[in-house]
């Protein structure tokens, strides 16, 4: 692996004679080219060292070096360049891994200061080393946990030697800022059937009609015409709410159902007409056939067929459809009712048939919770 060879030029009076004498001194050559008075030869390192020791009047010149020695020679020749190159690369890698700037992008100077101090503690600061992805994730998590009240979200983005830190300040829910004072209002229009008030002043009575947004239980407690107290109302109001539900259904109904009966049979097919030889035929069936024999033009063939019997429902039944539509309409209402809520009554309003669909309109009276809250402040 570390053997080297040399290409030499030997010049002198009689190079052939010199070659002979070298051979007698046990110096061997890998290749030789002899021209007039010049001998160009390739020689290995051991023989080259022997040749170097010989004192001669012949001019011996190294034309080229091959192998490991050549690498060593070129390293020696370029040693300064190589050293500077390595230093340069190390310096480049060093610079590439240094943080030159930490940009915290947010308008709130106080928040920026808090985050900056925290980042400094976590060693994300100017002239420190770039951090790994996992470390950055941990930093993000830690900062978020440390500032749960003030910080909603943090993003640390690296652009070269710059870290851009984007912050999203936590905005406290506006409801929290509002006062706790509230009225109980109607979520939907309806006739009040039951009022459960834990506190507050009841303004509406049972069997009163209320529109959406009307105050039913007020947080303002009156004495005469003056407001004596303000409360946060708690309670529940149930009312009779009216709904009109419209359901459209296709009128025509077709269904194929397997009866479970099947027969294996052989059929002759001639000019697209089938003749069953052995077994009875089902009136409605689904056939899986395999061609056993067929002529060139497919006019005549003998087929093996597995016939499955089908029962077919094919009907136009407006009465059944109407009933089904009413059930669907009822289901629509029931699906959004809670445990204490129920359908008081229902009435079919009208049924219309358009082409292939039936449209049914049903009116419902529903006993339902209509409580909602409206916040207010003293100002």
């Amino acid at each position: 692996m570390f053997n080297s060879t040399y290409l030499l030029s030997i010049k002198g009076k009689d190079v052939k004679r010199f070659l002979k004498s070298l051979y007698r001194r046990n110096i061997y050559f890998i290749s030789i080219t002899i021209t007039n008075n010049e001998l160009i030869c390739k020689i290995d390192e051991i023989n080259y060292n022997k040749l170097k020791d010989i004192k001669t009047s012949y001019e011996i010149k190294v034309l080229k070096v091959y192998g490991f020695k050549r690498i060593i020679n070129s390293i020696k020749y370029n040693v300064i360049f190589i050293i500077f190159f390595i230093i340069g690369m190390i310096y480049l890698i060093f610079l590439k891994n240094i943080i030159f700037k930490v940009n915290i992008i947010h308008d709130d100077k106080k928040l920026v200061e808090i985050i900056k101090n925290e980042l400094d503690e976590l060693n994300i600061k100017k002239y420190s080393f770039i951090k790994s992805y996992d470390y950055i994730q941990k930093v993000k998590e830690k900062i978020l946990n440390d500032n749960l009240d003030t910080l909603e979200w943090i993003e640390i983005e690296r652009v070269g030697g710059v870290y851009n830190i984007r912050l999203d300040k936590r905005i406290k829910n506006s409801d929290e800022k509002k006062s706790n004072l509230r009225h109980l209002v109607a979520k939907k229009s309806g006739i009040i059937k039951k009022i459960i008030a834990k506190d507050g002043e009841i303004i509406k009575k049972v069997n009163d009609y209320v529109n959406k947004g009307d105050i039913i239980i007020s947080g303002e407690i009156h004495k005469g015409e003056d407001i004596k107290n303000n409360l946060s109302v708690n309670g529940k109001v149930y009312a009779e709410v009216w709904y009109k539900v419209r359901v459209n259904l296709p009128l025509y109904y077709y269904e194929e159902k397997k009866t479970g009966n099947d027969i294996n049979t052989i059929k002759i097919e001639f000019l697209n007409k089938e003749y069953n030889i052995f077994n009875k035929e089902y009136k409605n069936k689904r056939s899986n056939k395999k061609v056993l024999f067929s002529d060139f033009y497919n006019m005549f063939s003998i087929n093996y067929s597995k016939d499955e019997e089908l029962s077919i429902v094919d009907q136009v039944n407006t009465i059944d459809k109407e009933k089904y539509a009413i059930i669907l309409a009822r289901d629509k209402i029931i699906n959004h009712l809670d445990t204490n809520e129920y359908i008081i009554s229902q009435k079919k309003l009208k049924t219309t048939i358009n082409n292939s669909t039936i449209n049914v309109e049903v009116f419902f009276k529903v006993y339902e919770d209509i409580s909602s809250y409206s916040y207010y402040s003293l100002n």
Binding site: F29, I32, T33, I34
Partner: protein, 77 residues
């Protein structure tokens, strides 16, 4: 059998291979004459004379020599 294996391993048999204008000689003893029209080699049982034109040695190892040129005749003596 062992003898033949030994011969192959040691490879000390005098041999000549001629391929077109190249002659490769193994296990020769010495070069006696080296000229462009005549090369004489000392071989185990005497001398080998190679005649031709523009004869040159293209490889010269311990026991192997390769000669190039237009070879006209070989002579054992």
């Amino acid at each position: 059998m062992l003898k033949s294996i030994n011969k192959i391993i040691k490879n000390n048999i005098f041999s000549i291979n001629i391929i077109e204008n190249t002659i490769d000689i193994n296990n020769f003893i010495d070069i006696t004459i080296l000229e462009s029209n005549k090369i004489v080699l000392e071989i185990p049982n005497g001398y080998l004379r190679i005649y031709g034109n523009n004869l040159t040695v293209s490889k010269l190892l311990d026991k192997e020599v390769m000669i190039n040129g237009s070879i006209t005749s070989l002579e054992f003596k």
